[in-house]
Symmetry: C2
Subunit: 431 residues, 2 copies
């Protein structure tokens, strides 16, 4: 496209705030600013907001993608100062204050980088080529289709070794995503697969591995919670390899640092993330984990009128000298604080520095098996009550009444019979 | 794959019935035979049964695909004599009684062709290349993504003529699918699009065309119902062109026989279907509409131990001298009758000739606008009561309690606010 084409947003006397990325941070900011006197442009590559904490349930055929995503246009119906563009920002020119996108260019008065983080393969091209990431609902759906396809193929694969490649699953990364995936795969192995595939010897043949480079699961959680998660997974039949590291994966065999190897075609990569800043920002602003260094007012280092929030930014505050955890809570609180400051700017108010209010962490492993850490008062617990709390918190966090109702009903149906009817290999036809 | 590879189904002393296609007819047959002493092999290209009457609601973002399809493996859990293979039959050898599939070959004692019908483009390659068919849930999802993508593109298309190509929609074929699509597009135009795309002038710019070659809509319905459907659509703002015919479509303009043309990139083709018999069956068995000629015991002409049911077969009976309509009711009743006959065969009973019990026809155009024809006593009605009956009949016909609940809730949500949150462009990532 001609780089002089405009993205077709009407010029207005209002100052224009362009938000790139409609994740937890960007969406929070856009919603707050939609009530102010700014013109708001929200750019996202999808036409929907994604609720990342439940991706793993989509991958496990426990929920439909539509239950955990929400279309931006519906969210902003009636907000005349909000413009949504479904595209990607390819570059920013900070001197002319212009963004380039495949739909044309777009100027800004204030730019907010809320592009989040993508999977980090740490430079291993083989792993990047063959492993399955879990950072979008499209990738979760790909994983679901992949698992189901492979079990179908296993039925007509008479040899034991080639069949192992199809039925075994390796998860790399012992954070919440890896732990939650391993737990739900273990439940699927026990309750669903034997009924769906009576021709296979599921109990004997299917192995689930969780590989974690550190010495404990759920890094950043309390020691009690880490130990509890490990016990839950081991009880459920998952082979957890701590202090282990994947060195290579050729699509058929996973190679570990200690020389061992596991035959499998399916490696789920949840071992790390890296920030996704926009091309054209100063290199001096880029810091640990490919994140943008910001001050406590979210201003990106060495830039003007450019802010970053959420997983893509790195901010230090007295209580968080190595930056904040890259989680939804931080992104949402940052979006809220930046909205307040930008709104205040129009009324000549001084901005407020960001302070993270840590409400705690939780992860679920399986039915009645979850862990919860609460920071103040310092307190951890697990089991049935933690699991119910996890369900409740996530249910309330999902956008939209319809989505809440549908997720709740799916959970109830799943609780009653462990036996969803969502194990469908649906791929939209491509012309 | 080596054509001598076997599809890995254990040999058994039971006679093997292979059913190709798990649509309304094939599924009915497989469910009945699962309770008999046959070994049943069900081959389908998908791992799920599709509820075709509601495809149009998936395309219009009113329902999720998962609500109207049901996985075969869940349906046949616990049936040890049923084997499911997700693949396609490429050829049959009637002398050796063997099927070829990409997974290997499969022998049969009795073969049932239940492959259904596919879209008929009547040999026009341009139309086949550019128009969108609606014969699978994958195609319905493609249509949904296509419509939403085009409205996003229209936002950044400043020229009036190129924008018309994106926002106008032409539906070809005035049967139930075409009528139902046109009606729900008209409702979307009125209630959803102006809220989602306030930047576009929806009322003035969006045109919906329904093109029907014959002189009336809903051919095969009563004259009252046809007239009523036409009135409903016209009242809702659809431009219905009767006695008109599409001669060509180059992806940007539709050309009609009378010399007129309509600028649009989106043509939905619901103008005809053709049977999909299996390669290797005798040519002499192939008749009108590419269907297989069968006698009243479902036996395919000039073959042995081969049967056909549903849309792919052509059967004459005294009351239906030009064959049956290609609808779900016929297929299901045929599946049931053939199951009874095959079961009776094991107990040396004489087979029963098929007699179609016509329970009537119905089509819905929009909210409180539907038509119902009941054949005996000859009786037609429309309006609110017909619409409620349509909803009820379809709700009960959908497989699975979860699906019924979810479809019902979606309908209620949609009734209350016309405003689904399913307008999502989700495409599983392809590696």
């Amino acid at each position: 496209m001609d780089p002089t084409t405009k993205i077709n947003i009407p010029e207005s006397p209002r100052e224009r705030v362009v938000i790139v990325g409609g994740g937890f941070g960007g969406l929070q900011l856009a919603r707050k600013l939609s009530k102010t006197d700014y013109q708001v442009v929200l750019i996202d590559r999808n036409n929907y907001h994604q609720f990342q904490p439940l991706f793993y349930q989509v991958a496990m055929a426990g929920l439909e993608p539509s239950s955990i995503v929400f279309p931006f246009r519906k969210l902003f119906q009636g907000k005349k100062n909000v413009y949504i563009r479904v595209t990607e920002v390819t570059e920013v020119d900070t001197t002319t204050k212009t963004l380039q996108t495949p739909l044309g260019h777009c100027n800004y008065d204030h730019l907010i980088v809320a592009t989040g983080a993508d999977t980090n393969f740490f430079g291993n091209e083989n792993i990047e080529k063959h492993a399955i990431p879990m950072k979008s609902v499209a990738e979760a759906l790909y994983l679901r289709n992949n698992i189901l396809d492979d079990y179908e193929d296993a039925l007509t694969t008479p040899g034991y070794d080639p069949r192992q490649e199809l039925v075994d699953i390796v998860i790399v990364g012992g954070g919440p995503t890896g732990v939650e995936l391993a737990g739900s795969l273990a439940e699927m192995k026990k309750h669903v697969l034997p009924k769906d595939y009576p021709e296979l010897n599921i109990e004997e043949e299917v192995d689930i591995y969780l590989i974690q480079s550190g010495g404990e699961l759920l890094k950043g959680f309390s020691a009690e919670s880490s130990a509890k998660a490990l016990k839950y997974l081991t009880d459920m039949g998952v082979t957890v390899l701590l202090g282990s590291r994947v060195t290579d994966f050729d699509g058929k065999t996973v190679f570990l640092k200690d020389g061992r190897s596991i035959p499998t075609q399916k490696v789920i990569w949840a071992a790390g993330i890296k920030g996704m800043p926009i091309k054209g920002l100063p290199e001096s602003a880029c810091t640990y984990g490919n994140r943008l260094e910001v001050d406590r007012f979210h201003r990106v280092k060495d830039t003007k009128d450019i802010y970053a929030i959420g997983d893509v930014c790195y901010m230090e505050e007295p209580d968080w000298q190595k930056g904040h955890p890259q989680v939804a809570q931080v992104a949402m609180q940052m979006g809220k604080n930046l909205a307040k400051n930008l709104h205040g700017r129009l009324r000549k108010k001084d901005p407020t520095p960001f302070t993270y209010n840590d409400k705690g962490s939780m992860a679920t492993v399986g039915r009645a098996r979850a862990v919860v850490d609460i920071p103040s008062p310092n307190f951890s617990f697990g089991g049935l009550f933690a699991w119910l709390l996890w369900l409740l918190v996530h249910l309330f966090a999902i956008l939209g009444t319809r989505n809440k109702v549908f997720v709740f009903l799916n959970w109830v149906a799943n609780y009653i019979n462990y036996n969803q009817s969502l194990r469908l290999i649906i791929k939209p036809k491509i012309k």
